[in-house]
């Protein structure tokens, strides 16, 4: 049986460093190539040596697909393609291709320039790597090679995020990447058609959460910000430069406009302008509202939100600052946090998930004293709020996606093991399909039952249809006669005549014969005639022929009479019927009847 193998190199029972290997129909595909935020050593990149110890990756991988531009999904890309060495095709959507290098460059700067790491990929490597990228459009089927095809679906989550449908022959896998089933202020909801893949590989960040309505969340968020501003406090919102940040910007921008607020909103880093530029461009990837109104006003042209300068952090008075990165583990957000942490009027709002080990994770868990580098401690006096604005599907959303795609097997990645366990149980119970949750490096094997397409000749089909009922009933299988020819990797079903002709074979007939001995005093011809007349009287509705050459033919059964050599009274009846006569047993039975009839005495 053919098998599909899935091996997570990252994101198996874990969040961060997404990297999943899939072998399907003899093809090896890598899905995402991310890095881990929580580590600064080798663990931050996937272990590519799992694939090959010394050979080039290109020989082992048919393609690499990046679902979206978050670093935990694409952070290791230049490392893999340039430093480890991979020259095969890399697929990502247009927005991802546009925004990905900005983030990689930012990441590189922080690691190399700020932390002073060496042996890291360079700007040139990022550029070289992006040259290998082939852009994807939504719902466009791309043929990677003759057999492997991929198709992208909208995933919400961030601009340009996509789910991919990978198909080899009739086997298919869907990888969701990160997705969001509820639309937000700037993106729509994920959507997939009923593609019935063999495996659906889904993220499960919020496997055990069902979230409140987004409107409540938004209102809460705005209220918190508003109150803090009115108190004269400063609000820090750590975000990743792209994604949630834009949603929150739109939210605050419209709120500011509606409430006529004057406090400044800043967005840190020069990244923003560049990124916003792309958001303005890729309007087709946003939600209905933005798509419909961008002609009048592009929602990403902010009026109230200005660029942040380092010196503004010490300005008096209220302000709202969006700063990167989102988990408070480094960069500007951490610097501002250090400055503002001491004042209880201030507030930090964590709008998303924080990986274990980051400061964000620590303060969310209520830690009020933080140990900083150089043995210094930091008292956290400011208020810490958590607003779940993370655009991942919640448990209900995951279930909804399963219902949409109707997969045969489920595989969960990108989540915590305990939570996955719960969701796994739920899925198995609700949909009665198998659900897997492999750890990193663990291989899941799913046997598939692929249907094999066979060409059938039209004539044969028509002939069979003429024989059977009026219309083929899609629910009932029907048997038909034909010859299956396997030739040069293709299968076809043709009628036996045609098969013989094509293969240049002669037709062989299989006939069954049997001898029956009779005691009959009459001559051969007479006996035959008696049998003939008798058969005529018994077998009404059958064509019975008496041929001049001394045979009687009932349908396709031939009867001949000959006297035995020893005894002229003993007649030998030769019966012969072809293989096709299905009901030959019936004829045999009938023949006993005949036999009795012909010889009234015996």
């Amino acid at each position: 049986m053919p098998e599909i193998k899935v091996t997570p190199l990252g994101a198996g029972q874990d969040v961060g460093r997404s990297c999943i290997l899939v072998s399907i129909g003899g093809k090896n595909i890598m899905l995402d190539c991310g890095m881990h935020m929580g580590y600064n050593d080798d663990r931050r990149f996937p272990d590519f040596s799992y694939i090959t110890q010394n050979g080039r990756l290109t020989d082992f991988l048919d393609c690499l697909i990046i679902s979206h531009f978050h670093l935990d999904h694409c952070g290791a890309l230049p490392y893999m393609s340039e430093m480890v060495g991979y020259d095969g095709p890399i697929y990502m959507t247009h927005p991802t291709k546009a925004i990905c290098p900005i983030l990689l460059e930012d990441f590189r700067k922080i690691t190399v320039d700020k932390k002073g790491e060496t042996n890291f990929f360079t700007s040139q490597m990022i550029k070289d790597c992006m040259k290998k990228v082939i852009p994807l459009n939504l719902h466009q089927t791309v043929q990677v090679d003759d057999e492997l095809e991929i198709k992208a679906y909208y995933a919400g989550h961030v601009l340009g995020a996509a789910m991919v449908h990978i198909k080899v022959g009739s086997e298919s896998v869907v990888y969701t990447g990160d997705y969001n089933m509820t639309p937000d202020r700037h993106l729509g909801a994920a959507w997939i058609d009923k593609c019935r893949p063999d495996i659906l590989i889904s993220e499960s960040t919020y496997a055990t959460t069902i979230r409140d309505s987004k409107r409540c969340r938004e209102r809460d968020f705005l209220k918190k910000v508003h109150e803090s501003i009115e108190r004269g406090g400063k609000v820090l919102i750590p975000v990743f430069a792209l994604g949630r940040a834009q949603e929150l910007c739109i939210l605050l921008e419209t709120f500011w406009e509606r409430m006529n607020l004057k406090a400044p909103i800043y967005f840190s880093t020069g990244l923003t302008e560049k990124a916003n530029h792309y958001y303005k461009l890729f309007i087709t990837w946003t939600n209905q509202k933005i798509r419909k109104t961008f002609v009048q006003r592009n929602m990403f042209e902010f009026k109230h939100i200005k660029a942040f300068d380092r010196s503004y952090a010490d300005n008096p008075g209220p302000m709202v600052v969006f700063a990167t990165p989102g988990m408070l583990h480094a960069g500007q957000s951490l610097q501002i946090f250090k400055k503002w942490a001491g004042n209880e009027k201030n507030m930090v709002i964590m709008p998303g998930y924080c990986v274990q080990g980051t400061i964000g994770h620590k303060i969310l868990n209520g830690q009020r004293k933080l140990e900083m580098e150089g043995r210094a401690t930091l008292d956290v006096k400011l208020q810490v709020e958590y607003m779940s604005f993370s655009a991942h599907a919640d448990a209900k959303g995951i279930m909804q996606l399963i219902r949409m795609a109707e997969p045969r097997n489920m595989l969960l990645v990108h989540g915590e093991a305990v939570k996955m366990e719960f969701l796994k149980g739920k899925i198995e119970q609700e949909f009665s399909i198998d659900c897997y949750m492999p750890a990193n490096g663990e291989t899941t094997t799913v046997t598939t039952n692929p249907s094999v397409p066979v060409d059938i000749s039209l004539n044969l089909l028509k002939r069979e249809m003429a024989l059977g009922g009026p219309l083929p009933d899609p629910k009932k299988p029907r048997t038909m006669h034909g010859t299956l020819i396997m030739k040069e990797n293709s299968l076809k079903l043709v009628s036996s005549e045609q098969a013989l002709k094509e293969l240049g074979l002669n037709e062989h007939q299989l006939r069954f014969t049997c001898h029956v001995q009779l005691q009959d005093p009459h001559s051969d011809a007479d006996t035959l005639h008696r049998i003939y007349t008798h058969l005529k009287s018994v077998l009404k509705g059958y064509t019975i022929q008496h041929l001049p050459d001394g045979t009687v033919i009932v349908e396709s059964i031939v009867i001949k009479v000959s006297s035995s050599a020893e005894d002229s009274n003993t007649k030998v009846l030769l019966l012969s019927w072809s293989y096709q006569v299905k009901t030959w047993t019936l004829f045999l039975e009938r023949f006993t009847l005949i036999y009795n009839g012909v010889l009234p005495g015996g």
């Binding site: 729509g188 009923k194 409540c216 209905q288 509202k289 939570k419 009026p470």
Partner: protein
């Protein structure tokens, strides 16, 4: 000669029916049509040519008589034709022809059915079935034919081509036998009963067809049967439910409808729940299944499902409430929704700070087995619907919520939070819709403080529609505490401050808020009026809109709270008197103890209170009766009586707003009569022509004025019946007669006179034609007499005619006016611009400046077409602007709101000057074309202006003119 000609014309007019002309045309072209086609088709050498001819032929209409001939030719050609596309076109032409008005297609049925039997091409077959469908629908009265067609459909149902199956199912749906009427004979009933059973089961067989289009067609056919009154069997339910999970969206969409239909037919049937032993009502089951569809993959289906949910009113409350349920959990622990938290905080008396860390911390641990993620049944359908990506779905969900909430108060209470949440939707349309919905269900609900807070936040919305909808909502809202009132007042004042143009709307809102919650306002009064037990506080500014707003709230509350006036300070009473007079629609009459003068004023005002509408009505009727005693226009004292009555009526209209329309109408009518009377009583009639030029002028003016008034009467008032219209036209006719007489006297040109005479006679004829049914009511009137003399009139000389008219006019009696039930005068008030601004609107000449116009229109029918804005510049230039249809909103019955912009432009002026803006009501009637329209449509209000410029064709100004200061500056070089 001319006379004779006219007489003949007159006779012909009367007895020739209207359809004459087209009928004649038909006969002319009949033979040529089919013959031409025949020749064309014969000429065609190949199929492409034939197709071309047919295509050309299809563009021209065919007359009923020649249809059959054409059909024969087409059929003849059909049998000969070998090309599929040509046969297809012929088949479609047959269908087209069967639809011809006045042609009964029963004669071609047999031929059409015959063609089916030999047809090999599936496409042509499908087209032929389509043709049969058209024929069948054209002949609804023939059961035999239907039976035949249905049989044909049965026969072809097993075709391999989906199109043919589609059409067959359509045929079955449209023509399949519905219940036989009771009086039918036995054998007929038997067959049709058999047919009945068959149709449904046969159609339902195709629910499982392999082609989604056929499945859709089968569902649609079933729905069609339902629409035609056939009772769909309950067995279909299961099959329809299975189709809800179809792969194709159009199938799912149709299946949703089907399930809905069945749920309405068998709401109380019991169906089992699969995988358990329980059973539930069918309507509940269907509700659950359709709720599921709200999270479907296709938004069309989602819209359909959301809409459908709204009309399932029989669903059990238990199920209904689940649609708003979304079990929250976080890390496997149950979490309360924000709504629940808000409610709890409110109950514990603490206002939600929203700041407390972890106040949403999960509480109890959930049993993993009870958490049902894919909510079975209706769980959270509306939560999903309201959060949907497509605003169409959200709007549908909001509407469905509204429908369900209106029928279930407890549900209304529950969906409140969700609707309030929708006020923050990103699409304005959705916000607006949810505000409207909340208003509609507001009778069921009382807003909590936190909810009110959210609602009021929307008052700062920059969209005027939203704010006004919200004001409207607040008018109908019940709130629970005095803090709520205070909050609302505060926010409304903030709103007033931010958007001063909302003044009227805010005041109105406070009026209702006050009168709804007198007891809640009472404790707030000292604070609101800033009175102090010991100290006198400064008297607030009476012109401050905010202060007026507060007073409106307090006074309206005081109306049903007699203890409140005791808290008022002196100036409050003074202000009351002032406001009662200036804003009488906002300030109710109050019984103020110890304030005699105010009290006295009150009693006068409250005299014609609500109970006295009848007496006013009586008065109106009596006045009219009194007038009707005037037999002859020349009777002594008649003028005085008319004068008096007119004045009475006008005053009555002012006092009793309910009767204003009727009173105005009567007064205008009587004024016309009075004018007519005066004109006729002029001495001039006895004088020689050259001597009376001056009097003549007044009489001409009177005639002109009567004409104008009649147009006003006809088009300005709504609710007129044809009897009143006849009366109005009658007056108009009189005025025209007067004009004619005057023309005869002043001008000596005979040609002109003949022309006007003819025109007048035409008018009389058209009057007769239009009001044939009303003529009996016009006994003894001017027209009555004229019609008696008609044969003579049409043959006599103009001079003679004039003489007759003159005497008839003088002798004819006053036509009594009968009042219709409801009569309203169209009015318009321009709210903005107010005309108070002294700052001129400056702009560069040659460029345009936009002037915002905001007006309310009452009792205007079809304002999109009739209401126009007129701008008059000081140099006499006038522009008429047609507002866009989208600029009209309809906030209430008989009420429209016009919010538009007009563009002004002019050459440079040396100093600012005023332009006038007013609204016009355009009218057009067939009678307008008969008269010279250029002289109509300007009235007293315009008389100060040169008439030539002010006159706008066929329009009545119906609002006061508002002056706007503008200043076009010369362009800088």
């Amino acid at each position: 000669m001319a006379q004779l000609e006219k007489k003949r014309l007159y006779v012909r007019r009367l007895d020739i029916p209207h359809e004459e002309t087209p009928a004649k045309k038909l006969r002319l072209s009949k033979p040529s049509k089919s013959a031409a086609l025949h020749i064309d088709l014969c000429k065609a050498t190949n199929s492409t040519d034939a197709l071309q001819y047919l295509l050309q032929f299809a563009r021209k209409p065919v007359e009923a008589e020649s249809v059959e001939g054409v059909v024969r030719i087409l059929l003849e050609h059909y049998y000969k034709e070998t090309d599929n596309s040509v046969r297809l076109k012929i088949a479609s032409l047959l269908g087209l022809l069967s639809k011809t008005q006045g042609f009964s297609p029963d004669c071609i049925v047999d031929d059409a059915i015959n063609t089916l039997s030999n047809e090999k091409s599936h496409q042509v077959l499908a087209q032929l079935l389509e043709t049969l469908l058209i024929i069948g629908t054209q002949l609804p009265e023939s059961p035999a034919l239907r039976l035949r067609l249905v049989e044909v459909a049965y026969k072809h149902l097993s075709d391999t081509y989906f199109g043919v199956r589609n059409k067959c199912l359509q045929l079955l749906g449209c023509l399949g036998m519905v219940d036989a009427p009771l009086g039918k004979e036995n054998e007929g009933a038997g067959t049709s009963l058999g047919g009945l059973r068959d149709v449904q089961s046969i159609i339902s067989d195709y629910f499982g067809d392999q082609d989604p289009r056929v499945r859709t067609a089968a569902l649609k056919a079933m729905l069609q049967l339902h629409e035609r009154g056939m009772k769909i069997h309950q067995i279909i339910y299961d099959q329809a439910c299975r189709l809800l999970t179809d792969d194709y969206e159009q199938v799912r969409s149709a299946a949703v409808q089907m399930v809905w239909v069945l749920s309405q037919l068998y709401p109380e049937s019991i169906v089992p729940i699969p995988s358990s032993n329980e059973e539930i009502r069918l309507v509940d089951d269907a509700f659950g299944k359709i709720s599921h569809m709200v999270s479907d993959g296709s938004w069309m289906v989602r819209v359909q499902a959301a809409k459908t949910l709204g009309s399932m009113l029989q669903v059990s409350p238990h199920f209904l409430e689940q649609t708003l349920d979304k079990k929250l959990m976080s890390d496997l622990r149950r979490k309360r929704t924000a709504h629940e938290r808000a409610k709890e905080l409110f109950a514990s008396g603490e206002f939600s700070s929203g700041r407390k860390w972890a106040d949403d911390a999960p509480k109890e641990k959930l049993d993993t087995n009870t958490v049902n993620l894919i909510a079975s049944g209706a769980c959270g359908a509306f939560v999903h619907g309201l959060e949907d990506e497509m605003f169409e779905v959200r709007i549908a969900a909001v509407e469905a919520l509204c429908q369900l909430a209106r029928s279930s108060p407890s549900f209304a209470e529950k969906c409140l939070d969700f609707l309030v949440d929708m006020f923050n939707d990103e699409i304005e349309e959705v916000r607006l819709q949810s505000i409207h919905v909340l208003r509609e269900i507001s009778t069921h609900i009382t807003l909590r403080e936190d909810q009110l807070d959210t609602v009021l936040a929307v008052l700062e919305d920059s969209s005027r529609d939203i704010r006004e909808a919200l004001h409207e909502l607040l008018c109908y809202t019940n709130v629970s505490t005095k803090e709520c009132i205070q909050l609302a007042l505060l926010e409304l004042l903030k709103n007033l401050n931010k958007y001063p143009t909302d003044r009227n709307s805010v005041w109105k809102c406070l009026k209702f808020l006050g009168s709804r919650h007198p007891t809640l306002v009472l404790p707030l009064v000292p604070e609101l009026l800033s009175t102090h037990p010991y100290f006198d506080t400064p008297e607030p500014d009476m012109d401050d809109p905010a202060y007026i707003a507060v007073l409106v709230l307090v006074f309206n509350a005081a109306k049903s709270c007699p203890t409140m006036p005791a808290l008022f300070s002196d100036h409050t009473f003074r202000h009351y008197a002032y406001l009662r007079d200036s804003l009488s629609h906002l300030v109710p009459p109050l019984r103020l103890p110890g304030r005699k003068q105010v009290y006295g004023l009150d009693s006068v005002d409250s005299g014609p209170g609500s109970g006295s509408v009848e007496s006013a009505q009586l008065f109106l009727q009596q006045s009219l009766n009194r007038v009707s005693t005037i037999q002859n226009l020349e009777a002594p004292g008649a003028q005085d009586l008319l004068d008096l009555t007119t004045r009475d009526l006008l005053r009555l209209g002012e006092l009793q707003t309910e009767l204003a329309g009727a009173a105005d109408f009567c007064a205008t009518y009587l004024r016309c009569q009075l004018l007519l009377m005066k004109a006729l009583q002029e001495k001039l009639w006895n004088m020689a022509v050259p001597l009376c030029l001056k009097q003549n002028v007044t009489a001409t003016a009177a005639a002109q004025q009567i004409l104008e008034e009649t147009y006003k009467l006809e088009f300005l008032y709504s609710g007129l019946e044809s009897r009143q219209v006849a009366t109005i036209h009658h007056v108009r006719l009189q005025a025209k007669a007067l004009q004619l007489v005057l023309t005869a006297r002043t001008r000596q040109g005979l040609d002109l006179l003949i022309g006007s005479c003819e025109k007048f006679l035409q008018d009389v004829e058209s009057f007769q034609r239009l009001f044939l049914t009303e003529l009996p009511h016009l006994q003894d009137s001017f027209v009555d007499k004229l019609l008696e003399l008609m044969p003579r009139l049409s043959s006599c000389k103009p001079v003679e005619l004039v003489k007759i008219l003159q005497t008839t006019l003088r002798q004819s009696g006053l036509l009594q006016l009968r009042l219709p039930e409801q009569i309203h005068r169209a009015t318009a008030t321009i709210i903005e611009p107010t005309g108070e601004s002294d700052n001129p609107l400056r702009f560069t000449s040659g460029l345009v400046v936009a002037l915002d116009i905001d007006a309310t229109l009452e009792h205007v029918q079809d304002p999109q077409n009739t209401v126009k804005v007129q701008v008059l510049y000081p140099d006499g230039q006038s522009h008429v602007i047609h507002p866009k249809p989208g600029d009209f909103r309809k906030p209430g019955p008989h009420r429209h709101r016009l919010i538009t912009q007009v563009y002004l432009s002019h050459t440079a002026w040396t100093e600012p000057s005023q332009i006038e803006v007013r609204l016009l009501l355009a009218y057009s009637s067939s009678s307008t074309s008969l008269t010279s329209p250029s002289k109509l449509g300007w009235s007293e209000s315009l008389e100060s202006l040169p008439p030539a410029e002010a006159a706008v064709e066929g329009t009545i100004p119906f609002s006061k003119a508002v002056k706007v200061f503008i200043m076009p500056k010369p362009a800088r070089r």
